[in-house]
């Protein structure tokens, strides 16, 4: 950058100092909770990471080791320990002995999920707070090799790609048509706004629960609706087992996603359409262009910046699909037909404890998203019409 002249210089450097003071809170939080984990995601991907429970600070010590050892060996909580923990706000009834070894016991407080490690060393017994320790061991590219060999990951990547490849363009196309319709309407926009905005802001867990009910095979709304429509045409309709038939789980996710984002995207496109200068339409009318030509040659090109924006954010957003799967299917779906990449990462890390492996998988996810975004920014954006 161009540095300021000497005379302006002093003010500039003071401003720089002041600016960073004001930016400090933001940079501190983002630095610690976004940038640092981001770098770590790459680092962790070449490590084997496992948790183990380690003894933390001492909360109680005693020399009455014989009584304690016999009581604990029988799976009971020693009186003295119960009293000591009661002072820390732990109810006696919530405590149980989770692990019994020769000179080491682990007790757990069910209410807080806190564990305590009791260690005997000769005559002395110490009660430690249990904390999580992390064991890291460098394994090079092993994690990546294992992820790529894992048929589940291939399936997850394929499922996610299908979901994105269908839902993103479908949503955008429908949103474009919807915005065009809305652009014609003079009245009723406020009501429509409410209808299209609600799916977008309601808690995803709650709304997915509603869809689970809609997709119910025997009593669900959707099958009833499809059956009714089929009836009008005299066609036969076999009830679709949306959530238990591997062929239908992905369509179920896609329909729900289109429903959630179509209105929101239409509103953004509508805002773009209403910003189009009326003179373009006047000129087209003078030239005798038909409505369809006007739409194709003016309306659509003029909202390409909005479409491009929506394409990027919905691509990134769709690749991250997880909650929908967890709530709608209560798992990866029949025959893992709805196993997605984030679901894979989630189960590998938080169910099986393979944190390094999960990091490798999420780095791959990032690489895919990054490559797609880069492709869009370089290739697709050339086709976007920006008005000067």
């Amino acid at each position: 950058m161009k540095l300021p002249t000497l005379r302006q210089g002093r003010r500039f450097w003071w401003d720089t100092l002041e600016a960073y003071v004001y930016l400090l809170p933001t940079l501190a939080v983002l630095g610690l909770f976004t940038f640092y984990p981001f770098v770590n995601a790459f680092i962790y991907s070449v490590y084997d990471i496992r948790t183990r429970t380690v003894a933390g600070s001492v909360v109680h010590a005693t020399t009455d080791s014989t009584t304690w050892a016999t009581t604990l060996a029988r799976g009971r909580i020693p009186e003295e320990l119960a009293d000591a923990l009661l002072k820390r706000g732990v109810a006696r009834d919530d405590l149980w002995v989770r692990l019994r070894q020769a000179d080491r016991w682990v007790i757990k407080d069910e209410a807080s999920a806190q564990e305590y490690i009791i260690v005997r060393e000769g005559e002395e017994i110490r009660v430690h707070l249990a904390t999580t320790g992390w064991a890291m061991e460098s394994v090079g590219w092993d994690n990546f090799a294992r992820v790529f060999r894992d048929p589940d990951f291939a399936k997850a990547l394929l499922n996610t790609t299908i979901y994105v490849a269908v839902s993103v363009p479908t949503t955008l196309l429908l949103a474009l048509l919807l915005a065009t319709l809305l652009n014609q309407a003079v009245r009723g926009k406020a009501l429509f706004r409410l209808a299209s905005f609600l799916p977008y802001i309601t808690p995803i867990v709650a709304i997915t629960m509603v869809w689970a009910w809609i997709y119910d095979r025997n009593y669900g709304l959707l099958n009833y609706f499809l059956g009714t429509v089929a009836g009008w045409f005299g066609a036969e309709f076999n009830l679709i087992n949306w959530l238990n038939d591997p062929r239908w789980t992905k369509p179920a996710l896609i329909i729900m996603s289109v429903w959630r984002f179509m209105g929101y995207q239409a509103l953004i496109l509508l805002a773009g359409m209403q910003g189009i200068d009326r003179e373009y339409y006047e000129a087209a009318r003078v030239d005798g262009a038909g409505p369809l030509a006007v739409w194709r040659k003016i309306t659509v090109p003029m909202v390409t910046p909005q479409m491009f924006f929506l394409l990027i954010i919905s691509l990134i957003g769709s690749f991250k699909i997880f909650e929908e799967v967890l709530i709608l299917l209560q798992g990866p779906g029949p025959q893992k037909s709805a196993l997605t990449v984030v679901y894979y990462v989630f189960t590998k890390a938080f169910d099986s404890g393979h944190y390094g492996l999960a990091s490798a998988a999420s780095v791959i996810l990032f690489a895919v998203i990054f490559a797609l975004s880069l492709f869009q920014l370089t290739v697709v954006q050339k086709r976007v019409h920006y008005e000067r």
């Binding site: 500039f12 450097w13 720089t16 600016a19 004001y22 930016l23 809170p25 933001t26 939080v29 983002l30 909770f33 976004t34 640092y36 981001f38 770590n40 962790y44 807080s112 999920a113 904390t131 999580t132 319709l181 014609q184 003079v186 429509f192 409410l194 299209s196 905005f197 609600l198 802001i201 309601t202 808690p203 867990v205 709304i207 629960m209 509603v210 009593y219 709304l221 509103l267 953004i268 496109l269 805002a271 773009g272 200068d277 009326r278 009318r285 739409w295 909005q306 924006f309 991250k320 997880f322 967890l326 709530i327 209560q330 984030v342 890390a349 944190y355 990091s359 999420s362 996810l365 975004s373």
Partner: protein, 286 residues
């Protein structure tokens, strides 16, 4: 030159028949959009027998309305705790986010300093990072900080956000520089100027940021199930999931619980529709 106040958009299909088709189509779409939520409401007011009837149009209206699902759902799980947690977290993270975003946005909008362009690029770049990629490293970080199963883990990481900074930055840009010049001559400190003079001028922007943050926080799910496993720290969405695992397919009660989770967002939306729309309109503009 005289400007006609005719809608540019009314050009394509202005005649009656065309417009009628447009409205008919829009009506169909609006009904489809609203249907799941109406269906939720309808089911929540039925008993199990009513809910399993064929959903003919006549059966949409619960007859008689069965209100018991709400109290039984509320009492079947510690929803009071869930609601309190969601509310508490939404308020604290919103306040935190707004307070950190205001000076950051102002600085990036109005001051010239070393590294400004770089910082803007960096912040914009964070929008490209999929949050799910950070789950594992964040989980390890939170554990190392000793924050697992604490409110800290649910609050502090969310007290800064790029969305708010960029939105507020656009608002601050519209304030003329002369205002700050004259304030400075009067001996006003910059921090005081930002919070006492500039902030009231961008109040709509702040309302928008706060709303989106509040709703986002209210809906928080994945982060909460990873960073905590205590009943006492569950938010409404997390509580809903456990409720669903508990009671299975008792749909009337599930729908009652879902309705309770959605109502606060709904109320907020109705009262602050303008701010939501503003947020949307702004995001679409490059």
């Amino acid at each position: 030159m005289q400007r006609y106040r005719v809608r540019a958009d009314a050009y394509l299909l202005r005649r009656g028949a065309g417009l009628l088709v447009v409205y008919a189509l829009l009506l169909v779409v609006a009904v489809i959009m609203a249907m799941p939520l109406l269906w939720m409401l309808s089911t929540s007011l039925k008993d199990l027998v009513q809910a399993l009837r064929v959903p003919t149009p006549a059966n949409w209206i619960p007859n008689p309305a069965f209100w018991d699902n709400f109290p039984t759902a509320w009492n079947a799980a510690p929803f009071a705790i869930y609601f309190w947690n969601s509310f508490f977290l939404a308020v604290t993270t919103t306040v935190g986010d707004v307070i950190t975003s205001i000076p950051a946005a102002y600085v990036l909008a109005k001051m010239k300093f070393l590294g400004r362009g770089f910082l803007l690029g960096l912040l914009l770049g964070t929008l490209m990072i999929p949050g799910q990629m950070l789950l594992v490293p964040s989980f390890i970080l939170i554990n190392r900080l000793g924050w697992y199963n604490t409110y800290w883990a649910l609050i502090i990481p969310w007290t800064a956000g790029v969305f708010g900074i960029f939105l507020l930055r656009q608002f601050f840009k519209t304030i003329p520089d002369e205002l700050w010049d004259s304030a400075r001559i009067d001996g006003c400190h910059r921090l005081r100027y930002i919070f006492q003079i500039a902030v009231p001028l961008v109040r709509p922007g702040i309302a928008t940021v706060a709303l989106f943050k509040f709703v986002g926080s209210w809906n928080a799910f994945l982060w909460v199930i990873i960073m905590t496993d205590k009943v006492g720290l569950r938010t409404v969405p997390v509580g809903l999931r456990f409720f669903m695992m508990d009671i299975g397919t008792d749909y009337p009660r599930l729908m009652a619980a879902a309705t309770m989770a959605i109502v606060p967002v709904l109320i907020l939306f109705v009262f602050a529709q303008r701010q939501f729309i503003q947020g949307i309109a702004r995001t679409g503009i490059k």
